[in-house]
Symmetry: D2
């Protein structure tokens, strides 16, 4: 059900014109005239009314505003599916009582470092391994990732440690090679509205970790999840990684309130990435604890054995000893909110 | 020490002009010419260089940019005072191991309700009482607070419960009446840069709770604390209450990363207000837990016995039973991060 | 008329409870049940429903959302008064065909400079003189203005040039001294929601130039105008001066679309301040032309005879020769849009 | 040249460690010790220092901050190429004295409408035709464009009117089909940081219209232009189309100050899209005039013969008669700023 608010001085003729238009779309309408405004209540399944149809109504003579009552996403909504979605990745269930920690370097750099980091994060208690083989960089002159070579190193690290792999896709043309190696496919913040890419990952049978865009509203983010789900793939997890604000003391502003908001709006698991959210390694630990306390189902944390030599995002990476310390500190916080880690 | 970056094609003449200007301010300078830019390093105590002098240098011919190295606040900085500031309010120390909870209604409405809420929050474990007698409202037609009448009710509630009072000042002309009743004077978000008001509360011997402005950077916020401290009053606590972003699912975006950032930059205690931060009562509990986990020294939480009849901010108020439940849930989180509540 | 959207599973009991509440406020309501949601249309003069009552309804069991149809401001609205408001300041009419230019230094510094600048801007065609005697500065260590001394210099400059004076008020306690000298009282961006100050300037018979807050929505800005007008003073002009965004290349982001938006929503004149909006003198001229083209009724432009020695905002001030050049360039743009300057 | 600011208490050992690191990158450094901070000036061609190396230095012990002096883009910079770039599209030169107007529907809907609109915009004086065959939509249930069929209709409209075509690419896999038909390839706001797509359009010999991302800084935008140019394609025009802010009265906030800022930083032509910038047809005309006054080299304006039936963005489309009226009104504004249209 939608509501159309009319301008104060709309003519009878224009009202009838609007009603006819609604009728032509198979929608019923009731007109209520108040002392100051007339509104039209649109009855019927308005979820089929597309954005463009809504815009078109907004453009009609006499229309002051159209208020959408129903949410524009369906499969992703809590109303559509009441129970929490649990995503099982090789026995690791994301969305249940256990909070998972996905750790590793920003970018896969070489085999030795990758293996070393993998063993360190495994030892500290991480249950997933992350690492980018295809890297979105703001500069064309920056390291763009090792490509399939990097995926092979990740794969070797998985073999050694047993940790499932989370890695990013940037281009629909890489889908085959990435699905060959990855356990979870990551869609980065800059690609949250790369709709073609969303459609493609919607067609494969792999869990997708969908990061929030830098200035995406929660509604838009859920619409991007809906894109993936509309193609059949229901295994989507949402990852808050900070939004862009005027504040410059941190790289982004990690919006932790997105976690409880999402828990109300959707059944999908929610992940938090404090490393990208704040962009400074010494702020990662307190924000990771807050993310656990607020109800995150998983965390992504950047770990590097030598941040000062990292080929990407060294500034926000934890050294293994600090990561291990953090893992120990997270356990009682998880327990305090009825979870385990 | 500051740095002046020159434009690529700056003449010798202009460089000498800039150096003379610096000299006239009692500052020494060293010129370093690189392959692509010449920079001037300014030596000496540049903390005395005011904003306007910096702007003036920026306006000189040949200057591309001025990079400020030193922080513009001093008394508020961690460099100036290494140890955490603890503020003792009638035996309740904010800034120490114990996390305090300041609870109560948004506005003082009448004596009966005020007494009732005070007793309820006391029973649940709150250690301070809040309530506004002078209310900043976006509409001139909204309830503006009871004024001194409201302060008397707060005072009566303090007498009954022993809880110290936190209440807001909006106008320098109210300073006398507010200091007469309040234990902590609150400066609201909209007055964070009401500089005259800051100067006035800087002259009294009462702790000040300084809320962050809706779009204030952390640096500007600390400058406002510096305003107060520059007048002699060192008892300032900073309260994060959400910043304005593009997101509309929450009233504001509660920037919890501000807590660890502040802990590095300043020695002042940090308070978090999840009620205003999110603006919806059902999101307050998870955000309050996150605030404790991230390192807040105190929380402010709105509690009302009948939110649906509240004269202000009913939407974000907890009922006493939910507040009591929350207090019980906060205790293990506090313990998990080495604090108590 | 407002609309209350109910949650999908709201009970009959809760619906009746909401209807009773509305009835108790003297409001009628109609319930419409769609296939997916039930909504309650509230009939009657809902403009009397205050924010707090709306919040309270939002807090009731079963309520998903309250959609406000009517605007919360009245006196400031175009619906209330259809014709453009013209404000006559000593024969200079702001809001008519002629576009006025208010020029002068950011701060009044001394008599000689003030007189000099006044003569220069007069010569170039400015019709108002600006200058701050009370300056809001982010640092307590910056120049805070000359106070009444500065107002006297402004007054002397007015006597010499005939230009009416625009100057800022920061504190209700300065109202008497400022009304004694000023022709137009300016409320700065940081005080847009200093509600006590708004109420005070609403009681005097002087035009008020109300600057938009750094992160104020247009609606909030109009509510602040309403504050002033609710006290009797209808001579309010609105000044766009840039809003805070993530962009750092300019000091603020000058929101020129606010001009045509305001022209639709309100009858009040609209002023644009390109100097504060961009913060760099070499961007002022193009933005001033754009402001004229978009429909501004007046411009405020900072002019200083020696920006590199200015005590405030030197970076964004034009020298008199550049200002004169700009005035000449603005004339054909004004003519192109059917105005004069 | 870059500057490294050290923490107050950095040891000699750490300083040496940093200097060694710089040396290993082939960079020279000078250490300057002030009374409050020590800084290291990095000499040599630091433009080769990548983001990741900068981050890595930031992560070293003792480093408080790294201040980048040089701009991270080169080919796009005004320093690299002083003269304005003019892009010739079939005899229409964008970036010269003449301001071009690119007009047409948001999406290509069918052949009849496309031909009709093309003739109308041609008649009114537009010099380019726009229309999307591949549409980025926030909902998977919205109209996604006609694909190659749409390109054929555009092509037919070009044949009839002689207007060159601007159309959007969303996916690297569509490059062949789009280059076959388009005269100018558009990269939409959501794809501004789709780096793979940027690399691909950088390899073809077609002008690219690069829209600014919803929350992209001007620096990031120029880095995206640099991505394209780094592959050989120097024909890039930048299109401001509004950024995301907290304001909801307009769809976006059109940042017109970006035009003069870009004119200083880059030699590339600048286009403004007032239709997307404000999102409401009745605000398009004033913003288009402002865009011309501020110095835009071209405008993109949505025109539709029947906005209320448009399949996309009907709300912001002008009808042909209003578009013709606007074209007539733009001419004197262009002339007033020394341009023609």
């Amino acid at each position: 059900m939608d509501i159309i608010v009319l301008k104060p001085d709309t003519s009878e003729y224009d009202v009838r014109h609007i009603l006819k238009k609604l009728e032509s779309k198979g929608l019923k309408a009731t007109v209520s005239s108040g002392t100051e405004r007339t509104i039209i209540g649109v009855i019927g399944d308005t979820s089929k009314v597309t954005e463009e149809e809504e815009d078109a109504i907004r453009a009609m003579t006499g229309v002051e505003n159209v208020v959408r009552i129903l949410k524009p996403y369906k499969l992703a909504s809590r109303e559509f599916k009441k129970e929490d979605t649990e995503i099982d990745v090789k026995g690791n269930v994301i969305g249940g009582k256990k909070i998972h920690v996905i750790a590793g370097p920003c970018a896969v750099e070489n085999k030795t470092i990758m293996m070393h980091i993998a063993e360190e994060v495994k030892r500290a208690g991480a249950t997933f391994l992350r690492g980018g083989a295809y890297k979105p960089r703001t500069s064309p002159y920056s390291f763009q990732g090792l490509g399939e070579e990097g995926l092979k190193y990740l794969s070797a690290a998985r073999e050694k440690t047993g940790l499932p792999i989370v890695t990013e896709i940037m281009d629909p043309r890489d889908l085959d090679v990435i699905t060959k190696y990855a356990d979870v496919i990551q869609i980065g913040a800059r690609n949250m509205q790369n709709f073609r890419l969303l459609l493609e990952v919607g067609k494969v049978d792999k869990p997708v970790l969908l990061k929030r865009g830098l200035s995406a509203t929660i509604k838009e983010w859920l619409m991007s999840a809906e894109y993936i789900m509309s193609q059949g793939n229901q295994k989507v997890m949402l990852c808050e990684r900070g939004i862009r604000t005027f504040e410059t003391a941190t790289r982004n502003t990690l919006d932790l309130s997105a976690v409880p908001v999402l828990k109300r709006l959707t059944h999908l698991p929610v992940v938090v990435d404090p490393s990208h959210g704040v962009g400074k390694w010494d702020l990662v630990a307190p924000m990771a604890k807050a993310a656990v306390a607020v109800g995150a189902d998983a965390l992504i944390i950047e770990v590097h054995t030598n941040p000062a030599e990292a080929l990407s995002d060294g500034e926000q990476s934890l050294k293994p000893d600090l990561f291990m310390k953090l893992m120990k500190e997270l356990a009682p916080v998880a327990e305090a909110v009825g979870r385990e880690i």
